[in-house]
Symmetry: C2
Subunit: 282 residues, 2 copies
Amino acid sequence: MADPTAKTTSSVKFVKTNAEVPLTLPVTAIDEKGQQVDKFVACERPLTVYLNWRPIVTLMTLGASPESLALGYLKNQGFISELDKLESVIVDWDVNSAAILTKETSDDIEAKLSEKTVTSGCGQGTVYGGFLQGLDDIKLPTPSLKQTVLYSLLKNINAYNDTYKNAGAVHGCGICQQDQILAFVEDVGRHNAVDTLAGDMWLEQQSGADKIFYTTGRLTSEMVIKVAKMGIPVLLSRSGVTQMGLELAQKLGITLIARAKGRHFLIYHGQDTIEFDVPAKQ
Amino acid sequence: MADPTAKTTSSVKFVKTNAEVPLTLPVTAIDEKGQQVDKFVACERPLTVYLNWRPIVTLMTLGASPESLALGYLKNQGFISELDKLESVIVDWDVNSAAILTKETSDDIEAKLSEKTVTSGCGQGTVYGGFLQGLDDIKLPTPSLKQTVLYSLLKNINAYNDTYKNAGAVHGCGICQQDQILAFVEDVGRHNAVDTLAGDMWLEQQSGADKIFYTTGRLTSEMVIKVAKMGIPVLLSRSGVTQMGLELAQKLGITLIARAKGRHFLIYHGQDTIEFDVPAKQ
């Protein structure tokens, strides 16, 4: 993942004005025997995203990657699109804010804010007009993935999910290539985790064509749309699928593999992607 | 649950213009052996909520209780507050809309729409200014709940979660009293399930004081706030807790019980609520 502390990616100047925040905090709970037990809880903090000093949204986040989250949110909602118009990202946890400065005019931003129409995925939330734009232009490659490689990937993913293992209450998402995890993000909101990875890929101008998107969360319409926008042709989840997630995957040509855990999975769309190379038991 | 088909609750005239929609659909998936398996997927459909013909938000929902969902959303976001100003609720699945008519003026609505500030819970989504209003006025009673009754409740809940058992990919929420489930709602968005129950309780002017709120979802800030607004002093979840969910529960005086499943649970706040009446094993 990008460590954005006072560094320059492409022509973007990042300024992170204060240090890292904790991702979990220790607490004491009482178990069913009436006994005190030491536990951790996942942090949850507001992050208000400003675009050219105009407040756009406040996201509730774990706080691990605020710069990429803010950028990915703005990118996915269609507020920003050209990397060379991006000037800087300033995160300040003292005031829970991420300020993004671009060369976009404020008229453009107001026009996009006024288009809010569709909401989404995890259930609720206004998603701005730009979210659904450009879907028709998406052309995804037809990938191939060996079942043995998929199993190896699922095994490798077990080494991630640190916050989940420690405190629960977060979802994890990863960008994978064959059985390797290139980036993994956890967040209290599963859409934040997706947006963070989208922000990273956009900043680094990575192609999604040879990638696999893994998530612990459910494959709803919004999840499928965001993965398609990243140009990734394979979506892999530990959880289930909704009907609209499935319909969009069919329309956009995304291989949809759900209930993937251990040596089990269900392909809901794109069965030709998987090469069944695990020998049948005698 | 309220069945709102052409009935009158208080002074509210409901008109539901077309029939029930399916909650799951049959699909064929391919399993890890390369074999076709018959599965169901949970439905997910857009529902655009109009208040006095002004579009407010589009929710992605399972579609089981669109009237209560639309009302609960508007109530929780502070757009509507007085039941006697409510005139009618018209759901039309042909155009995926829920139109709510009230005696509120359009100026009031525009003022509330302009206050959008805070977003939430499941991660994302604009939550309007009214959401956080009135929290300081909430006074919750100090409840008492026997451990044996809690176990009986958890056992009774197993009989619900129909869509989840059939298709996965949904969250369930229930309004409970002692070990009885008074209402249970599933939705593809966990916040939709909460809003639906909030809408029902508001319509029926039920007190939350003697109720327990159960959810399969995580206890984030937004979940705790919504339960507090319903006047319910006990929040019970099969999942985990975030730090802000815990802090709000402490501030608002909500008993927070997480990881509740079978005979296990963890009390994160309000341990005096539980009477440990299960005899210790010899």
